[in-house]
């Protein structure tokens, strides 16, 4: 674990020294939030829309923006730089556990997302959104977002290790858009058309989004929150196992 922490520290330093890689991670999700709220807020007024629990439509849309921010991590692209520049071989030639080579960047990605998610929530609060589940809910909210960031960055790192190509890794990142839009992104699941409801039900991102949304709109609903965390935990375990396998067979 010490090796993973040492490498996480290096990845954080790398992120801080490349602010141009962080700014879009914050800007694009906020842009989508403003556009989506601008387009649909009048259709779903807070005073008469039951699923908003008394808040505005921005509170309903906030989880989408947080998940989008969590899926914009640059860990895999920094990894490609290491691979192409030869530094990854330097790290592979050290006796650290192979999982540490993957985990270091993922831990850093999780920490970066904690900060970015906090900024997004803070901006939401400034525009009248409230976190109905309170301070505990706030920590669970940013914790779950960071967990998803780790999962997604892990998936991207696997693509990076397999393809060793920035173009291929970047393209693979677009996979998130179908996953995001096959969720109850604009309305709750029970208001979706039947085919969309089926698609959303089998899409694991749905449960993460519903957990985030419940934390913003309602008091602590442990079953929904637990399901979101379970999805992230299972996805993280699968992703980590695959990453270690890929890195062990890396030639």
């Amino acid at each position: 674990m010490t090796d993973a922490l040492v490498l996480a520290r290096r990845a954080l330093r790398e992120g801080i020294r490349t602010p141009e890689a962080i700014i879009p991670t914050l800007f694009i999700p906020l842009f989508f939030l403003v556009v989506n709220v601008g387009q649909a807020a009048r259709i779903f007024p807070g005073s008469t829309t039951a699923f908003l629990h008394g808040q505005g439509y921005g509170a309903f849309q906030l989880p989408s923006s947080m998940l989008l921010a969590a899926s914009f991590g640059s860990a895999a692209l920094f990894l490609i730089e290491d691979i192409v520049g030869g530094y990854f071989d330097k790290l592979r030639a050290t006796p650290v556990h192979r999982s540490a080579l993957v985990l270091g960047r993922l831990l850093a990605e999780g920490l970066k997302t904690l900060l970015i998610a906090s900024v997004i929530v803070a901006l939401g609060l400034a525009f009248g959104i409230s976190i109905a589940s309170g301070l505990v809910g706030f920590f669970l909210l940013i914790g779950l977002t960071a967990g998803w960031a780790i999962v997604y960055a892990g998936f991207m790192q696997i693509i990076a290790l397999k393809t060793r190509s920035a173009a291929a890794t970047n393209s693979a990142g677009l996979v998130f858009f179908p996953l995001l839009f096959l969720t109850p992104n604009f309305v709750p699941r029970n208001l979706l058309t039947h085919p969309m409801e089926v698609a959303a039900t089998i899409n694991p991102v749905t449960y993460v989004m519903e957990a985030l949304r419940s934390l913003i709109l309602q008091h602590l609903r442990w079953q929904t929150i637990g399901l979101g965390y379970l999805v992230v935990a299972v996805a993280a375990a699968i992703m980590l196992a695959l990453s270690v396998r890929v890195i062990r067979n890396y030639d």
């Binding site: 010490t2 490349t18 530094y87 071989d89 330097k90 030639a93 050290t94 006796p95 030639d251």
Partner: protein, 281 residues
């Protein structure tokens, strides 16, 4: 401490122990065009304490050999032992005892030289304090103390190469692998690297060095092997290889002639593959 450890290693060097032992080493790659045999059954022995040169034209299999011996590439067939350890079976233990500086100086341009060396030390289990002290020691050794807190992206090619060399020495390795350590350097930087390599070797570290520069091999190496198309075609001390060819041809020869004779190339054919650069002390 480094001197004491070095002295112990020199004693072991005299014991006839092999630092690198390779038998029937093979590496094949599968590509869309078919199977490529990069290394085709190499046998090699490098004694502890030597500077061993590994020469060959581009694509001959030098870097593939180094990558296999340093655990970075899987071995298709055959057996390799480094610092007394089986490379395929005990890769982590091998990594503890070797230092590696590959063809492209693999550095993280966003870190400072000091940060890079401290990180490397931490990954070799040094405490934060020991890693910092070792970084200072190495920065002085490779004459980069003044640039220690500058980001690596501002370093010149020669500085990057010296830092890469220093990072390979953080844990005082028994065997140091240098893959074309002076390629792309100007003559002055090349001489500096040669001096470092000699100094490192004098402290007891075995050096396995690949190079395209024949003069470099002649100046630095106790023994050398020439690889061509994945096979060893000559092996011995530079003097003996030159003497053997000289006797055969009945005239004075250089290491260039040995290389050309061994690889079946002509000077025209070899242009661009092997270069000779004069860089006298």
């Amino acid at each position: 401490m480094a001197e004491v450890e070095g002295a112990q290693r020199i004693v072991r060097a005299g014991s006839g122990e092999a630092a690198v032992e390779v038998e029937g080493l093979v590496k094949t790659y599968r590509s869309r065009a078919g199977t490529v045999e990069a290394v085709c059954g190499v046998d090699l022995r490098v004694e502890a304490g030597e500077i061993f040169g590994f020469l060959g034209p581009n694509g001959a299999g030098k870097s593939t050999m180094v990558r296999m011996l340093t655990t970075l590439l899987s071995i298709t067939a055959g057996f390799a032992r480094v610092a007394g350890l089986d490379v395929a079976r005990e890769p982590d233990a091998v990594r503890q005892r070797i230092g590696v500086a590959l063809q492209e100086a693999g550095l993280d341009a966003r870190q400072t030289g000091r940060e890079l060396l401290v990180l490397q030390g931490r990954l070799f289990d040094l405490s934060p304090r020991d890693a910092a002290a070792r970084a200072d020691e190495l920065l002085e050794l490779v004459e980069l103390s003044d640039a220690a807190d500058r980001r690596i992206k501002s370093y010149s090619g020669g500085m990057k190469r010296r830092l890469d060399l220093a990072s390979a020495l953080v844990h005082r390795p028994e065997v140091l692998f240098l893959d074309e350590p002076t390629t792309g350097l100007d003559p002055a930087s090349r001489v500096t690297v040669w001096d470092e390599v000699r100094r490192i070797n004098e402290r007891g570290t075995t050096v396995f060095l690949t190079t395209q520069y024949l003069e470099e091999a002649d100046q630095l190496c106790d023994r050398l092997a020439i690889i061509d198309a994945g096979l060893i075609v000559r092996e011995g001390t530079p003097a003996r290889l030159k003497n053997d060819l000289s006797e055969r041809l009945g005239r004075e020869v250089t290491l260039d002639d040995v290389f050309l004779d061994a690889t079946g190339r002509t000077r025209t054919h070899v242009a661009g593959e092997v270069q000779e650069v004069s860089a006298h002390d």
